[in-house]
Amino acid sequence: MTAARPANGTAAAAAGVLADLVDLGGAGLVVTELAPGWTAPAVGPGAVRVGVHRSRARPAGDLERFDILLSADAQAPRPWVGVGAEGVDAALARLAAAVDAQPAAAAVAAQVLRMSLTLPFDQALVLESLAYSMLLASEGFAGWRAANPARLRADDGRPRVQVAETESRLVIRLDRAEARNAFDARMRDALVEAFEFALAHPDAPPVELSGLGPVFSAGGDLDEFGRADDAGLAHLIRTLRAPARLARALGPRLAVRVHGAGIGAGIEVPAAAARVTLAPGTVLRLPEVAMGLIPGAGGTATIPRRIGRRRAAWMAISGAEVDAATAVSWGLADALGPGP
């Protein structure tokens, strides 16, 4: 979606509206220190609500109202994100900067994650796509795209995905190593075709998905972002050709081996699988909010189903990297394992 950049006067007016929204509790980051006797502030649905636990026993009370819960206890269990005593202020600063840079995307990420687990999986995918399509038409995304122009890359036309059968299983490999297996429309369609084949296979064999090259996937192909010029049609395409939906439909048959990096779609799709293994040293990250978007490859449906909505919101809104050990302890992946 290529929206015209607003004239300076318009940008200034928008900044004024945003400041008003923050004052009114309709946007921005709202932090509640969960010290004894804490009360939750009354804020609108557009505020990202963070609860902070700094010392002594972890607070009880109605924590449902918070989108993200930070704890000074590095070992704090779900739903807390344990950042360590010295990490709390840095985590808050990181969230404040993220929300300040992309207030609409951060709010929408929080809102979608509040709803996701209340819906059946397939409906949660549709919800995500509705929100994503809206953000494609937002100024936050247009600003990111203008600052990060797309390159035109030659396409060698090679298949994006390899499908091979061994004696015991079907092996699907992302095959775009030269672009760190960036997810473009061709890869999306090829992966959907491979998953549909797996679903239609009369033997229903186990299926293994991995990526060729240095990393499993660096995520959506940034050179395609902004290419869709009809947000309505883009929504219909995204919900029809949804690898995460098919990955989920494969149920216990699907195992994904992630190595190197799983960025954006590179963890959103694996998280739909019954089993995910990470090669040691693998890093996972959701970069979309910083681009004025939210995860759009199913991550708001798949990731909270693995780690809960508060840890998912931390990943989505902060954009922070999650290392392999943390990912396994959270349940974002099931185990460490060898690379492909």
Binding site: L136, V163, A164, E165, L170, D184, A185, R186, R188, D189, V192, E193, A194, F197, A200, H201, P202, D203, G220, D221, E224, F225, G226, R227, A228, A234, H235, I237, R238, L240, R241, G296
Partner: protein, 102 residues
């Protein structure tokens, strides 16, 4: 041969395996590698070879459809032989491409 939907076949001359997705509207013979396919449950005879003019290969996961007779099969195991109907080669159907949705 009765190419019923869901029925499974194997090439008589290579590793290819097939499952019928849509039947043909008229009786046809499906071949792979130039020889009629055999039921999946049967073992292929030793020493059979792919005919040189039917050696373009079959790819696992691809659908092969014949607009003339309506027959559509899914290749479930790749092989060196390519598919034909009554001697007439049939190609893989390209999945419809859709544009970027970002």
């Amino acid at each position: 041969m009765e190419l019923k939907p869901g029925s499974r076949w194997r090439s008589a001359v290579c590793d290819a395996e097939l499952v019928v997705v849509k039947p043909a509207k008229i009786p046809v013979t499906l071949e792979c590698g130039g020889a009629p396919v055999i039921p999946h449950a049967e073992a292929r005879a030793e020493g059979a070879a792919v005919a040189a003019d039917h050696a373009a290969g079959s790819l696992a996961g691809k659908r092969y459809a014949d607009p003339e007779t309506g027959l559509e099969v899914l290749c479930t195991k790749a092989g060196a032989g390519s598919l034909s109907i009554d001697g007439r080669p049939i190609g893989a159907t390209e999945a419809k491409k859709l544009p970027a949705s970002d």
